[in-house]
Symmetry: C2
Subunit: 437 residues, 2 copies
């Protein structure tokens, strides 16, 4: 949120007739107004803070206005304390908490004492208890957002540019050594991030049962790491597509440097323009940007590429049931993104008689991956501040911490879906081969 938004919020506050109820009204927490400021002023703040806390499902979190008023459990038992710089900030957030909290946190108008991840987990858990109604509201909001960010070829390019072209140097600060920006696979929770990203790529290759000499097409290849892994460790040829210019440039330089340029071709183009036949189709962390309306088109590409044989794998953030992405994340971090439910994902496969062979939900692995990223990000925050500014540092901290919380609380899922053309009987007999070294 910028200065302009703040004044809009203040105006909103002025034009609203917020009638403070008496302190200790029914439903308000049993805590007297704090000292400092007149009773009228503090009781209004108190009412607003209580309102916000109640809206979030009364999590065990202390909420305060910088001038002194507080609600919630005593600091000793609260998971964290959230302090709003002013009543204007608080009022603005009350009007649209899921959007404006993030902006205010980014600007420093909201400060947090205590562990950010624990705070967000607590809020996710408490507000999830609200149950069904909120979800259906979110579904409608999701429809609006999806319309706005309809992923046409041109719009996809803009959306992807927004997130992935921030700068390779920035991502290099906190991703693993090999630059993989998707959920890792931890054979044990003690694995390092580097080990887990390597293990994830291997897990994907084993699921696809790649054989030397085969051809693979990759839809959405990030900085090209998986393609190189496949070529180096499984002896396959890979054509890898991406519409992020910076990522493609990085990937090409790397393939040349690592002597794999002859076996890996990076194509700066949209997945919809993929042509040719391949033994395997793979897409890791792209589906979130495809948009529901394009799922059958993605399935058509996979179907056409495989031509009745071969195997495919799609790895994507998902949901237990349809719901929009947290709107602040959708607006500020990932425009056009939408994590689907598994039911929604089947729209990729069903029209083309693609057979789902194996689905693995790795949500706790994504929480673990994000904990590693967040720790590395915090360690590099000075450098991020130099590259961007304090607001950017805070926004991305909130995004990473919120993502940890989304996966630990089961708000988000991570689905790896292995599939094959319906008529293909050359499929693994069991999954034991994934677990033997």
């Amino acid at each position: 949120m910028n200065a302009c938004d703040e004044s809009v919020a203040a105006a909103t506050e002025r034009t609203r007739t917020v009638r403070p109820p008496p302190p200790l009204a029914a439903g308000a927490p049993q805590q007297p107004p704090a000292e400092g400021g007149s009773l009228e002023r503090s009781s209004l703040d108190y009412w607003l803070l209580s309102k916000l806390r109640s809206l979030l499902g009364n999590p065990p979190v202390e909420f305060a206005v910088r001038s002194g008023t507080r609600v919630g459990p005593a600091s000793a038992t609260a998971v964290a304390r959230v302090t709003f710089a002013s009543r204007a900030t608080l009022t603005s957030i009350l009007a649209d908490p899921w959007m404006r909290f993030g902006d205010a946190y980014g600007d420093g108008r909201v400060t947090i004492e205590g562990d950010l991840v624990s705070l967000l987990e607590t809020v996710y858990q408490a507000s999830d208890m609200g149950g069904e109604r909120r979800v259906s509201l979110l579904r409608r909001a999701a429809d609006v957002l999806r319309r706005r960010h309809r992923n046409s070829l041109a719009r996809s390019r803009d959306n992807i540019h927004h997130h992935y072209d921030i700068g390779n140097d920035f991502y290099a600060l906190w991703l693993d050594r090999s630059m993989v920006y998707t959920c890792a696979y931890y054979p044990t929770p003690a694995a390092t991030l580097d080990e887990a990203q390597f293990a994830k790529m291997d897990h994907v290759c084993r699921k696809l049962r790649l054989n030397a000499g085969e051809s693979v097409v990759e839809a959405g290849c990030g900085w090209g790491t998986l393609a190189l892994h496949m070529a180096r460790h499984y002896g396959v040829r890979v054509r890898a597509f991406n519409i992020s210019h910076q990522q493609i440039v990085y990937a090409r330089e790397r393939a040349a440097r690592e002597g794999l340029g002859a076996r890996v071709e990076y194509v700066e183009d949209d997945y919809r323009n993929i042509t040719g036949h391949y033994d395997a189709f793979v897409s890791v962390g792209m589906l979130e940007h495809v948009g529901l309306a394009n799922y059958p088109a993605l399935g058509r590409v996979a179907h056409r590429c495989l031509g009745g044989r071969g195997r495919g794998l799609i790895h994507s953030i998902g949901r237990n049931r349809p719901a929009t992405l947290q709107p602040w994340i959708e607006k500020r971090i990932f425009p056009g993104a939408y994590p689907p439910s598994l039911g929604e994902m089947t729209r990729i496969f069903e029209p083309w008689n693609l057979s789902i062979l194996d689905v693995e939900n790795l949500r706790l692995h994504y929480a673990q991956t994000l904990r590693h990223w967040l720790a590395r990000y915090e360690a590099a925050s000075e450098r991020v501040r130099e590259m961007f500014d304090e607001r950017f540092v805070r926004m991305w901290r909130l995004y990473l911490a919120g993502s940890v919380a989304a996966f630990t609380t089961g708000t988000m899922q991570l689905f790896q879906v292995l599939f094959a053309p319906g008529e293909n009987n050359d499929i693994a007999w069991t999954r034991a081969h994934l677990y033997t070294r």
Copy 2:
């Protein structure tokens, strides 16, 4: 089909104006009418046979009328030869092949030389090439069938009685020693049926991570084998529900005989009447009989039983995309049955925020299971004939052989879906524990 149906078919033939085109008309196979019978008579049969063969996608199968006319490849290259007893039979089948072929085969009005499974696989493959249109027609047909067999409590009881109360002695002739009538799990294709059914139950228990002292509820327990396995090998207490009276009686006697009566309770009641809280919910091979409209109700039962913790598993025949069950199977063998697509299965889980953790498609294991059943059934066919009659022997042979073909051609799938309440973090870190002995 009985004699009455046959005369209906003959009447249909008489009232239709079937105008035979000249031999070798456009589209007809390049083969002269066979000898025997007048030219007019044989050319009409020839046209009807060609029509049927074309309707089935021109499989490499020879079709013949007993009086002599034949179409299709020469016997040496054909997968099998299908002979119709009369033109009346052929005409009747042409009007509704997916329903009447089965009846005519059962009555002996259709005979088959060559391997029945190979023939059916060939027909499934050829007719699948028809593609999209047929599926949408089937979808409409499925809606009609589902309405007819709406699975109310009373209707479910009738439907289940039709199939499962034929007689325990009958099933004992060809199922494995432990009487399991669902897809087995073959650690290797060479495993015996007994080994594979044991391995399947173990696979399910491992997926559910059962611990001694825990409680399990089973929805649809067959002859009670899985419940006994869980109690004996995992030390859990099981309440197992089934509405097939014969199966429940059998299961109770067996639990008492095997000294497990104190740990396994068999309840003759519908899954919708399950009450109580449990550590695990399991349902193997019941979903096929639940009906789409009841999926959210089934999910509610699982959700209520688990109460925010624990694990669940549903094992069911499925589809790559929505389609009706083969209508002859639905009418003669499994009234009210409907194998869902995975997308349709998600209707069980999404309303209750149940998180899908793992999906495994075991369709080739079901083909293997059915091959074992078919071989044992053929070996016991004399005994089956004594218990029932020749028509019954042929109908069940067709059902078993057709089911092998459905799974080998990818027309049917077998999904094992592991799930847990969305907020439950006590889930397996990886699936490696399923593959270590």
